[in-house]
Symmetry: C2
């Protein structure tokens, strides 16, 4: 297995200036999984697994979606109760989600027990989850190369100590700009990022800036890249997870230390893949990218951004 994605599987109900959608398949592991799976197929990789928990209400159709994308779902637990639900909205330029309701449901008592078959992926993508659950995952999984961890503002507010513990244990931390500022209590993004890097004892920090692109901090030097400019902004939900999923699949292709050049290549793919997710509600655009459309946008992005 190349990438194990541990995260949430959810039903999202949301409204954006472009429309609304109810009980849309979502969750960090869904977006991360579909994204990694697209690149796994394209790059003839050794497979993607997702691991999480759903309730009895989870639709067979959605399990089929994962399998159609060649995602191994043997790590999904189906338990009594309802699937995690998020109800939210986006306004204006959709830079930030407004949460109306979070129903943890089966997540409330989720204690991941990682099957033996899943304990040695090349890359562990520890998607957004309670830091204490992320910690349990890190205890059980020993990736052959490295761990990429994502988090969110909520845990900075209500589980800071656990979050500070868990970020020290991973090679690559992904946050967005607001989270980096919040975690460091520092307005300037460069200063804030350096503070967060020292909190995690070095390594790599990737700061997502939404429509403004990404800044990454690598020991060999900073990387800054713009987003793919789009005029078709429908729903930003899952963009960050899509970004992380594509990144992880690309990091699974090589061995040894992660160079800045390799990181740049992976960030380029992460940026381009996320630009599809934003163009429709849910995972539909992401699940249906063709290699041809992807390659064309990838070239387009490199041209627009004048990348080497």
């Amino acid at each position: 297995m190349d990438v194990l994605v541990v995260g949430s599987l959810a039903y999202d109900t949301l409204e954006t200036p472009a429309g609304s959608s109810e009980d849309e398949l979502g969750g960090s592991a869904s977006y991360g999984g579909f994204s990694a799976a697209f690149h796994n197929k394209k790059n003839h990789g050794n497979g993607i697994s997702i691991l999480g928990v759903v309730g009895k209400d989870f639709k067979q159709e959605h399990l089929d979606w994962y399998e159609n994308s060649e995602i191994d779902i043997s790590g999904i637990e189906i338990v009594e109760g309802n699937t995690f639900r998020w109800i939210g909205s986006y306004h204006g330029n959709m830079a930030e989600a407004v949460t109306h309701d979070t129903q943890l449901n089966v997540f409330e008592s989720f204690e991941p027990k990682i099957p033996q078959s899943h304990t040695n992926p090349k890359i562990l993508m520890c998607a957004n989850l309670l830091p204490s659950i992320q910690s349990t995952v890190l205890d059980q999984v020993t990736p052959r190369r490295l761990t990429v961890l994502d988090s969110m503002n909520l845990w900075i507010n209500i589980a800071l100590d656990e979050l500070l513990e868990v970020i020290k244990r991973v090679e690559v931390l992904i946050l967005n700009d607001g989270e980096v500022r919040m975690l460091s209590d520092e307005d300037n993004l460069m200063k804030a990022s350096k503070k967060v890097l020292s909190m995690k004892n070095g390594g790599i920090l990737i700061v997502k800036r939404g429509e403004h692109g990404v800044i990454a901090f690598h020991p060999e030097g900073i990387v800054s890249m713009p987003a793919y400019p789009t005029n078709n902004l429908v729903d930003p939900t899952g963009c960050g997870d899509t970004f992380a999923g594509a990144l992880c699949q690309h990091l699974s292709k090589r061995e040894g230390a992660l160079s800045r050049g390799e990181l740049i290549e992976a960030l380029t793919h992460a940026t381009v893949t996320a630009s599809f997710t934003i163009e429709d509600f849910g995972t539909s655009k992401l699940r249906n990218i063709t290699e041809e459309r992807y390659d064309s946008r990838y070239q387009d992005y490199k041209f627009i951004s004048n990348l080497r």
Copy 2:
């Protein structure tokens, strides 16, 4: 003459989270002029002129600053009254200026009469001024290559018709993202920019996004570049004019149609030069860039942004 910069010469009194400064030499023609002059000297160009009006209170010391930077100031009119003054402040991440007071003073009755010697620059940089004054300048100056025009939100509010007239007459229009959104009445920056381009009947539109970089629309394709990441943000006043000044000097080096490749090179220099201005109050950092420091930051920027 390679670049004629027509714009304001001002004394700025301002406060930022990093401190404050009183009667600081400013104005769009000052920043644009010092910036173009730096590149003129570095590239062995044929000279930069600035044209504007000041009052009797304008200090000899500041005229000396221009001359020390090898800027031709024969186009500066010194008239009865006081120099234009702007009093403002920046807060938080300093993305937007708050104007406390604007004292037009000698600008109130400014009717630029362009000396014969100044009517045929290679590039006309029509910096931010009342659109009706910009129009008078365009009537009198016939640049050998092209005109670059800058504007601001104030004129969108109080002189829209004149602004819409004047942007049709220039090859290159520079605005910031907020101004593009305001002028087009459209939230999405890509859609907004395309609307503005059609208002100006095509050509080139450069959209400055402050700390988020720049997007430019060229007939051969879009260009998107990040800003130079800095943790030394002191005063953003004049960054846009610095950007435009460096751009104009670089556009003065060649003949004929402006290709996308040439635009990218000029935008790269514009971005790097602006990153110096932000690091101190007023023009001091800009006036004192050494070629060595500049080249080092230029390479650094290309490395960080992975530019070709």
